[in-house]
Amino acid sequence: MLQLYGVGVGSRLLLGTARYSSPAVLTEAVRASRTEIVTVSLRRESGGERSGQAFWALIRELNVRVLPNTAGCHSVKEAVTTAHMAREVFGTPWIKLEVIGEDDTLQPDVFGLTEAARILCAEGFEVFPYTTEDLVVAERLLAAGCRVLMPWGAPIGSGRGLNNLFGLRTLRAHFAGVALIIDAGLGVPSHAAQALETGCDAVLVNTAVAQAGNPVLMAAAFAQAVEAGRTAYEAGAIEARDFASPSTPVVGTAFLR
């Protein structure tokens, strides 16, 4: 079973809660995904509308673990303060640490990320850093105290899949015992299957489900893909080769020319 900071997790699919057409669709998608972890954020609350209160009530009814994020933070200070606020509201030391460095790609600012991770790990947070596939950055994050890495597949919401499969394979091989969760950029279930086949431990998906024609059906499809990918990884895939290799035995072939 996948272990994330000592917590056993049955499902290798994490689901984001944003961009659904309605709370009802979100609820059904979470159930169809069979996820045990959903990501959430903190945003300004109006004393009149109190819309966050209704959302929080909905999430609590789903009986899933929450992983709060620091989405939208562009500096170490913003991210650290947001993490403190999230820990109080959500009652968890888990934090999906995002420090954004570039607005077009939402690429992580890995320098700010490692600094924020160092501060938060020292304060007892259990940090899930949204990072790139860069090995040296990963090394720094682990040295800071992170025990999970969340490399991007592609820019958030792009649906491009695994942009740098080689980089992710390298990351997997280099940090064999570290939980790798592909965060961001997946578009279709086959992307998730590929991530799991490659040995990544889990994927986090949001837009690909929430913005699908039928989000509930797509959530189920991602659940199946993640299971298939993980099973394939455990089964051990063959090596790709350049030329054909007959699968039907050659010995005993009739001579009929």
């Binding site: 954020s41 609350e45 966050g52 959302f55 709060p68 200070k77 986090l204």
Partner: protein, 65 residues
Amino acid sequence: MRILVNGVWREPGAAELGAVLEEFGYRGAVVSTAVNGEFVATEARAHTLLADGDRVEVLAPMQGG
């Protein structure tokens, strides 16, 4: 006293953060607060005095990816 609450200028009757939150409709709400960019824990709100021009952020759980 004028303070900025979630980006909107307000004029509270009270000066303590906890009382200001109640005044502006947050009684019983699950929220987290920051003043001038610094986190203020729930237990510290009652004795956190606000000053003219302070920036108060009141955040609640929301959808996220």
